[in-house]
Symmetry: D2
Subunit: 133 residues, 4 copies
C-alpha cells in the first residue's frame, strides 16, 4: 500500500543555509500519511469526531541531499504495519526532476488514544478498511 | 497598558534571504498578546474552557530592518482598545543590542466568538479584569 | 494581472482552536506572489543571483472566516502596483467548495534592495517583463 | 557535555489535537544544539563565514507525553560524539512543572560540508574547542 503526494517547496520552508529546513520534511511526511489514509476511506476528522486521536510516538528521518526553493517534491508513503493499536509508515522523498533523486527517507509510528489520552484499540469500522486494502 | 517580551531568533525562523521570514513576526506578536493578557489575569485556556474563542480578524506589520539569527528581540505590546466585543493591540519589535533598533511595528484586532463561531460579548468576569487595569 | 494558486490545508497548519493559524495565510500569499512573478518570467533565484533581494516591507491580512484542515484553498493574487522601486500585491483567499467563500483578504508591499541592504532600482531586464504584461 | 535550554510553548506551535505539533520539537532540539555549541565558543555564523555548513543528516524523536500551550519546556542537550567529520547529539525534553515529566527524547547527527556541498573535515581551530571541553 503506497501513495504518492507532490509538494512544491515554499520560500518560507527554506532557512539561511539556502535549503529546506529539516523540520519541514515532517510536514510532507504528514501530508503523505493523511492522503494514504484518505485513499483507504479513513478521514482524520471522522476519527476525531469519534473521540480517537492518533498521535505520533516516533519519527525518524535521514537526509541525503537538500531540497531547494522551487523544487517539486515527490513523497512516496508506504503503510508498513497496521494493527488495532498502531500504524507504521515509511517515506521516500524525491526531487521530481529529469533524473529523479532521493533526498530523504523516513519512518513514523502512530498509536491510537481516546479522549482521556489513554492508548486504545481502533474500532472495527475503521480497521476493516485497512483489512480490505 | 504595555508588556515586554523577549525572543531569541531561532535558526528555523530564518529563510534563504538570511533573515527572519516575515511571517514569523506574527508569532512574536502573538506571544506578546498572550503575555499581556496573562499579566491581567486572563488566561486563554480559561476562555477556551468557557467556550470563548478570540480569533484574529486583522493583522498588519511594517518591516523596517531585518531580524537575524541569534538576535535578541524585544517586543513591546500595547493594549490599544478593549471593549466587550473586540481587542486591539499594537506592537513595536526591537533588536536588543547596545543601540536598540526598531525592526518592525504592527497592529492586530481580535473579536470574541462562541463555540458556534458567532461573535459574542466577553463575559463580565473577564471584562472586569480589563477595567481594573 | 491576476494569478490563481491552490493550497490544501495541512494538519500542521492548524492550531488548538481547530482552524488554520493566522500566520500561515502569509505563506499562501507568498506562494501566490512567487507564482505571479514566475508567470511573468521573473524567477526569485535569478534575482538573488543578480544580488537583488525584495523583502516584504508591509503586509496586512483581514480574516473573515476560518480555513480548516483538509479545505482546498484558492488564492487570487493581483499585481496592483509595480515601479522600479516597489511592488504591491493584493490577495483574496477563498475556500474552494460548492459555494466558494471568501475567507481572507490581504495586501503586501515589497521593495528591492541590493546585497548591502540598500534600496535599489530594479534592473531594466526585469522591469521590461512587468511592462510587457 | 550537557546544556539546558528553556522554551515556552507558543500558541502557534499547537495543532488541532490541542497539543504541540510533533515537528516543532525539532526546533527545540535545534535551539539546544545551537546553545551547546555556543557554550563551547563555536558560533554558527563564524562557521558559515568560513564556508562550512553542518546539515542534519539524521534526526529521530520519540514522543512520550504531549506538550501543551503555556507549558515551560526544559531541553537537555548532550553532545554524544564529536569527530572532525560529524557531530552526534541526544536530547531529553521535559515539562518543567512541580513533578518534572519526560515528554520526548531524541537524537541527531550532523556532518560538515563545504560551500560546494561536499563533506569536509572541521578545521582545527573549531575542533580544538571540542577537545578542550
Amino acid at each position: 500500500m503506497k501513495v504518492i503526494t507532490i509538494e512544491k517547496v515554499r520560500f518560507s520552508e527554506t532557512d539561511m543555509m539556502g535549503v529546506v529546513h529539516h523540520a519541514n520534511y515532517l510536514h510532507w511526511m504528514e501530508n503523505g500519511r493523511v492522503e494514504l489514509l484518505r485513499s483507504l476511506g479513513i478521514y482524520l476528522l471522522d476519527l476525531i469526531d469519534d473521540g480517537i486521536l492518533f498521535p505520533i510516538v516516533k519519527v525518524e528521518c535521514q537526509y541525503h541531499k537538500p531540497a531547494c526553493f522551487g523544487d517539486e517534491i515527490r513523497v512516496e508513503t508506504t503503510l508498513c504495519k497496521c494493527t488495532k493499536v498502531k500504524l507504521e509508515f515509511s517515506y521516500e522523498i524525491y526531487k521530481n526532476s529529469e533524473n529523479i533523486e532521493l533526498l530523504a527517507s523516513g519512518e513514523s509510528k502512530n498509536v491510537y488514544i481516546n479522549d482521556k489520552g489513554v492508548i486504545c484499540r481502533l474500532p472495527d469500522k475503521y480497521f476493516a478498511k485497512f483489512q480490505e486494502a
